[in-house]
Amino acid sequence: MHRRTFSRKTLGIPYAIFLLLFVAMPLLVLVYYAFTNGQGEFTVMNLVGFFTNPNTLGTLFYSFGVAIVTTVVCLLLAYPTAYILAISKWKSKTVILLLFVMPMWINFSLRITALKEILTFIEGNLAYHPFLNTVIGMTYDFLPFMILPIYTTISRLDGSLLEAARDLGAGEMQAFLRVTLPLSVPGIISGVSMVFLPAMTNYVVLDMLYNSTYIMGSLIGSYFSAYNWHGGSMIALVLLAIICLFTLLGGGQEDENARGGSLL
C-alpha cells in the first residue's frame, strides 16, 4: 500500500515551499523589523512615529485620494464600455475586447514612457499637474482590470432575467437599474479591488512621470533607500493591514468567476 502515498496533496508541495520562502518568511522579517529598533530591541516607536509624522499621514491621505479618484474614473469609463460590449451582438466583439486588453501585453515601462511623451506634448511641463498626471497614468494602466471583470459578469447574466423584468412591466431603463446593475455588483467589486489596492501602492507610474509627489509605495521606497529598514517596514505593515481590511470588507460578496481571469 506504500505506492498509494502519492496523492493530490503532494502536488501542492512545490508551491507550499515557494509560499514559505518568499511570502511567509519575508512577512515575518517585515514584522520583526517593524517592531524593533536599530539595536534589535522591541519597540512600538515605529508605529507611534507613523501616526505622529505629518509627512507619512499626509502621504497616506494623498494615496487614498489618488486611489479613490483613479478607481472612480476607471469605473465610469469601464462600466459603459463593458456593458455595451457585453450586450452587443457583434460578431467581432472579442476583437474589440482584445483592443482594450492588448496594452497589457506591451511592456509596462514602454507604455508609461509613451504616455509621458504625450502628456509632455499636451501640458508642456509635467510638474504643473502632478495629481492629474498620476490619475491619468494609473487609469491608463489599470483600466483593463476594471473592464474585464465587469464585462464577464454582465455577459454571464442570464438573458431571461432581463426578459422577465420586461415581461413584468419594466421599461428598458428600469430593467437595467433593477436587474442588470445590481447583478453586476460582484464584477464591480472585483474590478474595484483590482484597481484600488494597486493604485494605493504603485509608485512606478509616478516615478516614471517624474512626479514630485509621494504615494505610499514611493514613501516606503524612500525609507528603504535611506537604509531606514525599521520605519519602512512599519509603513509597509500598516499599509498591509489597511489592504487586508479592504479585502475583508469587499471579499464577502466577491464572485470568483467575476475576475475574468480566463480572458487574460
Partner: protein, 479 residues
C-alpha cells in the same frame, strides 16, 4: 358556459431570422377567453418562438397579433397585459421571494399595503405561505417553479404564457404540478397558453392542442380529436405511439398495407395512396393461421400495465400492447378491428423506408450498400480512431440502437427492365394516369410498396427494378 370572445388572434404570423432561418411560417390561431391551449411539438418546431412573439420578446417578420381585436404586434413586452412563466424560472437571484413577486406590482406603482396583500394571496395560491423573506437559492426546483407562477399571476394578466414550465422537474413533481396548474387555471379564469414537447402533458392539461412541426401548424383540436383522428402521419407519430404504414386502397372498404389486405371503415376510391395508422393497443395478436398478416416476435418489454411486443413481418415492424405475454421468436398472426384502422389520404407521396446499418457501419438496403456515410446524415458526427461513431459532443453513438429512415420522392425513382440494376425489385401492382404522368405502385419483394412517377406507360404486373439515386434520398435518424 361557452365563451365565444377571442382574446388573442394570430394572423399569418411569420418569423424569419437574419440568417434566413424561418422559425414560424403563416401561423394562424384564435384563442378564446379562458381557454387552456397548448403548443405541442418537437424541439425546433417554432412553438417557443410563437410564444415569444405573443410575449413581445420577438417581433414577427410578417403578420399581425391582435389582443381583444387591437394590434399588439410591435408593442414592447412591458406594455402588454401578458405575463410569462419561464422555462428556467428566471427568478431574480438578488431579491427575496417577496420582492420577486412584488416586482411587477411595483412597476405599476401599486400602493405598498396593496402589494403586501396581493403577494400574500399569490403565495397562498401556490402553497408557499410565509416564504416572503426566503432567498431564491434556498428554494428547491419545485418551489422556485411555484414562485415563478406566483410572480406572473400576481399581476392578473389577461393571458398567462408558460414555456415548458415543468421541464426541469422530476416525474412525480411534474405530475403533481400538472394537476395543480389545471386547478389554478380553473380558479383564476385566465387564458393559459402552454408550450411543451411532452405529448402526455399536453393531453392531460389542455382544452385545445396545437400540434406544430417545422414552423407550421399541423393540427388544432381537442386532445381527443388529436389522439383519435390525427390529420397526418406526423401528428399520429408524435401523439402517442403509432404504427404508421404507407399503403393503397384495393377495393371497397379494403386497403393493403404492411404486407396484408385489411378491412377498414374509411370509404375511398380504389387506387388512392393512403397512410394507415394503428395504435399499439389496437393491434391484436392471434394464432398465425387466423391473422391478416403473420410475423415473428422480436422483443417483449414489460411496462407495468401491459407488455410491449414488437413483431417483425417482412420488412415491417409492428408494435403491439398486450396484457398477455409472448415469447421472442414466436410466430404470431396479427389482426386489427376495422374501426381501429385510421386511414389518411397521402397527398404527399414521399416513399419512406427503413435502412439497415451493417457491421461495417455502412447503410444498407436490400443487401445493397448505399453510397452515403453515417457521418453525412448525423450532423457533426465523425468516426474516431477506433472506428466508433461519435456525435458532435464526443459521445459514442451505438449504431445498433439508432434507426435510419430514408425518404425519396416518386419522381426521383426510375424503373428499369434490367431488374438487377435496381436497388430493389418488385411488380407493378397499380397504376393511375394523373394528367401528365402515370403514378405506379410497385409491390416489392420486401413486402413494401413504392410509389413511382413515370411519363411512359408500363403494364400491370411488369417485373421491374427500382433505381433510386442516393443523392435524392433524405435520411432521418431516430435514437
Amino acid at each position: 358556459m361557452e365563451n365565444t370572445k377571442n382574446i388573442i388572434e394570430l394572423k399569418h404570423i411569420t418569423k424569419t431570422y437574419e440568417d434566413g432561418f424561418t422559425a414560424v411560417s403563416d401561423f394562424n390561431l384564435e384563442v378564446k377567453q379562458g381557454e387552456f391551449i397548448t403548443f405541442l411539438g418537437p424541439s425546433g418546431c417554432g412553438k417557443t418562438t410563437t410564444l415569444r412573439m405573443i410575449a413581445g420578446f420577438d417581433i414577427p417578420s410578417g403578420g399581425e397579433i391582435l389582443l381583444n381585436g387591437k394590434s399588439i404586434t410591435e408593442l414592447p413586452p412591458n406594455k402588454r397585459p401578458i405575463n410569462t412563466v419561464f422555462q428556467r424560472y428566471a427568478l431574480f437571484p438578488h431579491m427575496n421571494i417577496f420582492d420577486n413577486i412584488a416586482f411587477g406590482l411595483k412597476q405599476k406603482n401599486t400602493p405598498k399595503s396593496k402589494i403586501v396583500k396581493k403577494v400574500k394571496k399569490a403565495l397562498e395560491l401556490v402553497d408557499l405561505e410565509g416564504f416572503e423573506n426566503r432567498s431564491v437559492s434556498t428554494l428547491s426546483g419545485g418551489q422556485q417553479q411555484r414562485v415563478a407562477i406566483a410572480r406572473a399571476v400576481v399581476n392578473e394578466p389577461q393571458i398567462l404564457l408558460l414555456d415548458e414550465p415543468l421541464g426541469a422537474l422530476d416525474l412525480k413533481m411534474r405530475k403533481e404540478m400538472q394537476l395543480e396548474l389545471k386547478a389554478m387555471h380553473r380558479e383564476l379564469g385566465i387564458t393559459f397558453i402552454y408550450v411543451t414537447h411532452d405529448q402526455e402533458e399536453a393531453l392531460t392539461m389542455s382544452d385545445k392542442i396545437v400540434v406544430m412541426s417545422e414552423g407550421k401548424m399541423q393540427q388544432i383540436g381537442t386532445p381527443e380529436d388529436i389522439y383519435n383522428e390525427p390529420i397526418n402521419a406526423f401528428v399520429a407519430d408524435f401523439i402517442g405511439e403509432s404504427n404508421i404504414f404507407n399503403g393503397i386502397v384495393t377495393g371497397k372498404l379494403k386497403a393493403r398495407f404492411c404486407g396484408g389486405e385489411f378491412v377498414c371503415v374509411d370509404d375511398m376510391k380504389e387506387g388512392t395512396h393512403i397512410t394507415a395508422v394503428v395504435r399499439p393497443e389496437d393491434v391484436q395478436i392471434v394464432a398465425p393461421e387466423n391473422g391478416t398478416i403473420r410475423g415473428t416476435v422480436t422483443s417483449v418489454i414489460f411496462k407495468g400495465m401491459h407488455y410491449e411486443i414488437t413483431i417483425e413481418s417482412g420488412k415491417n415492424e409492428i408494435v403491439a400492447q398486450s396484457v398477455n405475454v409472448a415469447k421472442v421468436g414466436q410466430r404470431v398472426g396479427i389482426t386489427v378491428e376495422p374501426d381501429n384502422i385510421h386511414l389518411m389520404i397521402t397527398e404527399d407521396h414521399t416513399n419512406f423506408f427503413k435502412v439497415e446499418i451493417n457491421k461495417n457501419k455502412e447503410l444498407e438496403y436490400n443487401d445493397n450498400v448505399l453510397d452515403v456515410s453515417l457521418t453525412d446524415i448525423i450532423k457533426g458526427s465523425y468516426f474516431d480512431e477506433d472506428g466508433d461513431l461519435v456525435d458532435s459532443n464526443g459521445i459514442e453513438i451505438d449504431t445498433r440502437k439508432i434507426r435510419v429512415t430514408a425518404a425519396i420522392q416518386p419522381r426521383d425513382i426510375r424503373m428499369t427492365d434490367e431488374q438487377e440494376e435496381g436497388l430493389v425489385q418488385g411488380y407493378i401492382s397499380n397504376l393511375i394516369y394523373e394528367g401528365d404522368h402515370y403514378s405506379y405502385v410497385i409491390h416489392t419483394d420486401l413486402e413494401h410498396d413504392f410509389v413511382v412517377d413515370d411519363e411512359y406507360l408500363w403494364n400491370m404486373d411488369d417485373q421491374v427494378g427500382l433505381i433510386m439515386p442516393v443523392d435524392k434520398m433524405k435520411f432521418t435518424v431516430k435514437r
